[in-house]
Amino acid sequence: MKTMNTSFQQMLAEVPPCIQQEVDLELAISNRIYDLMTERGLSKMEFAQALGKRPCEVTKWLSGQHNFTIRTLSLLSAFFGESLVHV
Protein backbone atom coordinates (compact mmCIF):
# COMPACT_ATOMS: atom_id res chain seq x y z
CA MET A 1 0.00 0.00 0.00
CA LYS A 2 1.21 3.51 -0.81
CA THR A 3 1.96 5.94 1.99
CA MET A 4 0.89 9.55 2.36
CA ASN A 5 3.27 12.05 0.65
CA THR A 6 3.87 14.09 3.79
CA SER A 7 5.43 12.09 6.59
CA PHE A 8 3.19 11.94 9.66
CA GLN A 9 6.32 12.16 11.82
CA GLN A 10 7.12 15.43 10.07
CA MET A 11 3.64 16.74 10.94
CA LEU A 12 4.12 15.64 14.56
CA ALA A 13 7.47 17.40 14.70
CA GLU A 14 5.66 20.67 13.92
CA VAL A 15 3.58 20.42 17.11
CA PRO A 16 5.03 22.97 19.58
CA PRO A 17 6.40 21.35 22.77
CA CYS A 18 3.96 23.31 24.96
CA ILE A 19 0.95 21.97 23.00
CA GLN A 20 2.33 18.42 23.00
CA GLN A 21 2.83 18.70 26.77
CA GLU A 22 -0.79 19.86 27.11
CA VAL A 23 -2.03 16.94 24.97
CA ASP A 24 0.08 14.43 26.94
CA LEU A 25 -1.15 15.69 30.32
CA GLU A 26 -4.81 15.86 29.33
CA LEU A 27 -4.67 12.33 27.98
CA ALA A 28 -2.74 10.93 30.94
CA ILE A 29 -5.21 12.44 33.44
CA SER A 30 -8.17 11.21 31.40
CA ASN A 31 -6.80 7.67 31.18
CA ARG A 32 -6.14 7.64 34.94
CA ILE A 33 -9.72 8.76 35.66
CA TYR A 34 -11.03 6.05 33.32
CA ASP A 35 -8.90 3.40 35.07
CA LEU A 36 -10.03 4.49 38.54
CA MET A 37 -13.66 4.66 37.45
CA THR A 38 -13.60 1.15 35.99
CA GLU A 39 -11.56 -0.25 38.91
CA ARG A 40 -14.43 0.86 41.14
CA GLY A 41 -16.99 -0.69 38.83
CA LEU A 42 -18.65 2.61 38.05
CA SER A 43 -20.44 3.27 34.79
CA LYS A 44 -20.22 6.75 33.29
CA MET A 45 -23.74 7.47 34.49
CA GLU A 46 -23.05 6.24 38.05
CA PHE A 47 -19.80 8.20 38.18
CA ALA A 48 -21.56 11.38 37.05
CA GLN A 49 -24.35 10.88 39.60
CA ALA A 50 -21.89 10.24 42.42
CA LEU A 51 -20.23 13.57 41.70
CA GLY A 52 -23.43 15.50 41.00
CA LYS A 53 -22.34 16.12 37.40
CA ARG A 54 -24.04 15.62 34.07
CA PRO A 55 -22.88 12.59 32.00
CA CYS A 56 -21.75 14.95 29.21
CA GLU A 57 -19.23 16.44 31.65
CA VAL A 58 -17.80 12.96 32.29
CA THR A 59 -17.70 12.36 28.52
CA LYS A 60 -15.44 15.43 28.21
CA TRP A 61 -13.19 14.26 31.07
CA LEU A 62 -12.78 10.83 29.46
CA SER A 63 -12.15 12.20 25.95
CA GLY A 64 -8.47 12.80 26.64
CA GLN A 65 -8.84 16.37 25.39
CA HIS A 66 -10.27 18.22 28.39
CA ASN A 67 -8.43 21.18 29.88
CA PHE A 68 -8.94 20.30 33.57
CA THR A 69 -9.13 23.06 36.14
CA ILE A 70 -7.51 22.71 39.55
CA ARG A 71 -11.03 22.72 41.00
CA THR A 72 -12.06 19.68 38.93
CA LEU A 73 -8.79 17.86 39.64
CA SER A 74 -9.30 18.50 43.36
CA LEU A 75 -12.88 17.23 43.21
CA LEU A 76 -11.77 14.05 41.43
CA SER A 77 -8.75 13.50 43.67
CA ALA A 78 -10.96 13.81 46.76
CA PHE A 79 -13.52 11.42 45.25
CA PHE A 80 -10.94 8.75 44.43
CA GLY A 81 -8.90 9.37 47.60
CA GLU A 82 -5.68 9.84 45.68
CA SER A 83 -3.98 12.67 43.90
CA LEU A 84 -4.41 12.64 40.14
CA VAL A 85 -1.48 14.99 39.58
CA HIS A 86 1.83 14.87 41.40
CA VAL A 87 3.92 18.05 41.66
Binding site: M1, K2, T3, M4, N5, T6, F8, Q9, M11, L12, E14, V15, P16, I19, Q20, E22, V23, D24, L27, N31, Y34, T59, K60, L62, S63, G64, Q65, H66, N67
Partner: protein, 156 residues
Protein backbone atom coordinates in the same frame (compact mmCIF):
# COMPACT_ATOMS: atom_id res chain seq x y z
CA UNK B 1 -17.96 9.93 -9.05
CA UNK B 2 -14.20 10.12 -8.40
CA UNK B 3 -11.66 7.38 -8.02
CA UNK B 4 -9.84 7.17 -4.71
CA UNK B 5 -7.39 4.91 -2.95
CA UNK B 6 -6.39 4.20 0.62
CA UNK B 7 -2.99 5.45 1.83
CA UNK B 8 -1.04 4.44 4.92
CA UNK B 9 -0.33 7.34 7.32
CA UNK B 10 1.31 5.66 10.30
CA UNK B 11 1.38 2.26 11.95
CA UNK B 12 2.15 1.09 15.46
CA UNK B 13 1.12 -2.04 17.33
CA UNK B 14 -1.76 -0.08 18.91
CA UNK B 15 -3.24 1.57 15.83
CA UNK B 16 -2.84 1.83 12.07
CA UNK B 17 -3.75 5.17 10.56
CA UNK B 18 -4.92 5.58 6.97
CA UNK B 19 -6.23 8.38 4.81
CA UNK B 20 -8.04 8.62 1.48
CA UNK B 21 -6.46 9.96 -1.70
CA UNK B 22 -8.64 11.05 -4.60
CA UNK B 23 -6.67 10.26 -7.75
CA UNK B 24 -7.67 13.63 -9.21
CA UNK B 25 -6.08 15.50 -6.27
CA UNK B 26 -2.44 16.16 -5.39
CA UNK B 27 -2.90 15.72 -1.65
CA UNK B 28 -4.73 13.16 0.43
CA UNK B 29 -7.77 14.15 2.49
CA UNK B 30 -5.78 14.46 5.72
CA UNK B 31 -2.98 16.45 4.07
CA UNK B 32 -5.57 18.83 2.64
CA UNK B 33 -6.96 19.37 6.14
CA UNK B 34 -3.46 19.89 7.54
CA UNK B 35 -2.35 22.27 4.80
CA UNK B 36 -5.55 24.33 5.09
CA UNK B 37 -4.87 25.30 8.71
CA UNK B 38 -1.12 24.94 9.31
CA UNK B 39 -0.50 28.64 8.56
CA UNK B 40 -3.83 29.89 9.91
CA UNK B 41 -3.15 32.10 12.93
CA UNK B 42 -6.55 31.43 14.49
CA UNK B 43 -6.79 27.69 13.94
CA UNK B 44 -3.16 26.54 13.98
CA UNK B 45 -3.17 25.85 17.77
CA UNK B 46 -6.31 23.67 17.45
CA UNK B 47 -4.79 21.88 14.44
CA UNK B 48 -1.62 21.21 16.42
CA UNK B 49 -3.69 19.81 19.30
CA UNK B 50 -5.47 17.47 16.89
CA UNK B 51 -2.19 16.33 15.27
CA UNK B 52 -0.57 15.87 18.68
CA UNK B 53 -3.59 13.89 19.84
CA UNK B 54 -3.50 11.64 16.76
CA UNK B 55 0.15 11.03 17.59
CA UNK B 56 -0.92 9.77 21.03
CA UNK B 57 -3.54 7.50 19.46
CA UNK B 58 -0.54 5.62 18.10
CA UNK B 59 0.32 4.82 21.75
CA UNK B 60 -3.14 4.16 23.17
CA UNK B 61 -5.33 3.16 20.23
CA UNK B 62 -8.33 4.90 18.68
CA UNK B 63 -10.57 4.33 21.69
CA UNK B 64 -14.23 5.20 21.26
CA UNK B 65 -14.23 7.68 24.15
CA UNK B 66 -11.60 9.82 22.38
CA UNK B 67 -14.02 10.72 19.58
CA UNK B 68 -17.18 12.69 18.96
CA UNK B 69 -19.81 10.52 17.26
CA UNK B 70 -20.88 12.07 13.93
CA UNK B 71 -22.59 10.82 10.82
CA UNK B 72 -25.47 8.40 11.21
CA UNK B 73 -26.15 5.52 13.57
CA UNK B 74 -25.23 2.94 10.92
CA UNK B 75 -21.85 4.37 9.90
CA UNK B 76 -18.54 4.68 11.68
CA UNK B 77 -17.89 8.39 11.12
CA UNK B 78 -16.45 10.24 14.12
CA UNK B 79 -14.84 13.64 14.67
CA UNK B 80 -12.07 15.29 16.63
CA UNK B 81 -11.91 17.11 18.93
CA UNK B 82 -14.50 16.19 21.54
CA UNK B 83 -13.92 19.42 23.46
CA UNK B 84 -14.92 22.92 22.43
CA UNK B 85 -13.32 24.02 19.16
CA UNK B 86 -14.70 25.17 15.85
CA UNK B 87 -12.24 22.99 13.98
CA UNK B 88 -13.42 19.52 13.03
CA UNK B 89 -11.48 16.60 11.60
CA UNK B 90 -13.72 13.80 10.37
CA UNK B 91 -12.50 10.22 10.58
CA UNK B 92 -13.73 6.69 10.04
CA UNK B 93 -13.11 4.64 13.16
CA UNK B 94 -13.23 0.97 12.24
CA UNK B 95 -11.95 -0.23 15.60
CA UNK B 96 -9.56 0.68 18.43
CA UNK B 97 -6.75 -0.31 16.07
CA UNK B 98 -7.85 1.06 12.69
CA UNK B 99 -8.55 4.72 12.00
CA UNK B 100 -9.02 6.43 8.62
CA UNK B 101 -8.35 10.18 8.68
CA UNK B 102 -10.53 12.29 6.44
CA UNK B 103 -10.79 15.99 5.74
CA UNK B 104 -12.38 18.68 7.88
CA UNK B 105 -12.91 22.37 8.39
CA UNK B 106 -14.33 25.11 10.56
CA UNK B 107 -17.79 24.36 11.90
CA UNK B 108 -19.75 27.60 11.91
CA UNK B 109 -23.17 25.96 11.82
CA UNK B 110 -25.01 24.07 14.55
CA UNK B 111 -24.82 20.77 12.68
CA UNK B 112 -22.42 19.56 10.00
CA UNK B 113 -25.43 18.92 7.72
CA UNK B 114 -25.99 22.69 7.48
CA UNK B 115 -22.53 23.18 5.99
CA UNK B 116 -22.07 22.11 2.38
CA UNK B 117 -18.30 21.78 2.92
CA UNK B 118 -18.45 19.70 6.11
CA UNK B 119 -21.32 17.49 5.00
CA UNK B 120 -19.26 16.72 1.85
CA UNK B 121 -16.38 15.43 3.99
CA UNK B 122 -18.74 13.35 6.12
CA UNK B 123 -20.46 11.97 3.01
CA UNK B 124 -17.09 10.92 1.54
CA UNK B 125 -16.37 8.92 4.69
CA UNK B 126 -19.89 7.46 4.82
CA UNK B 127 -19.54 6.29 1.22
CA UNK B 128 -16.08 4.92 1.89
CA UNK B 129 -17.44 3.05 4.90
CA UNK B 130 -20.13 1.46 2.71
CA UNK B 131 -17.50 0.40 0.13
CA UNK B 132 -15.30 -1.14 2.82
CA UNK B 133 -18.26 -3.12 4.18
CA UNK B 134 -19.14 -4.31 0.66
CA UNK B 135 -15.49 -5.17 -0.09
CA UNK B 136 -15.21 -7.20 3.09
CA UNK B 137 -18.42 -9.02 2.18
CA UNK B 138 -17.28 -9.89 -1.36
CA UNK B 139 -13.72 -10.69 -0.30
CA UNK B 140 -11.88 -7.91 -2.18
CA UNK B 141 -10.92 -6.23 1.11
CA UNK B 142 -9.53 -7.95 4.18
CA UNK B 143 -9.80 -6.19 7.52
CA UNK B 144 -7.58 -7.85 10.11
CA UNK B 145 -7.25 -6.89 13.77
CA UNK B 146 -5.14 -3.82 12.93
CA UNK B 147 -4.87 -3.60 9.14
CA UNK B 148 -6.89 -3.03 6.00
CA UNK B 149 -5.54 -5.13 3.16
CA UNK B 150 -6.59 -3.94 -0.28
CA UNK B 151 -5.21 -2.80 -3.61
CA UNK B 152 -8.65 -1.58 -4.67
CA UNK B 153 -9.43 1.83 -6.01
CA UNK B 154 -12.80 3.09 -4.83
CA UNK B 155 -15.47 4.99 -6.75
CA UNK B 156 -16.60 7.69 -4.37
Amino acid sequence: MSEAELLLVNETKHCTLYTIQFLSENDSEFEQFYNKFKDDVEFNPDLMRIVGFIGKIADFGALERYFRPEGKMNDRVVALPVVQSKLRLYCLRLSDKILILGNGGVKNTKTYEESRELSGYVLTLQNFDKLIKEGVKNGTIIVTENKIETDNTFDL
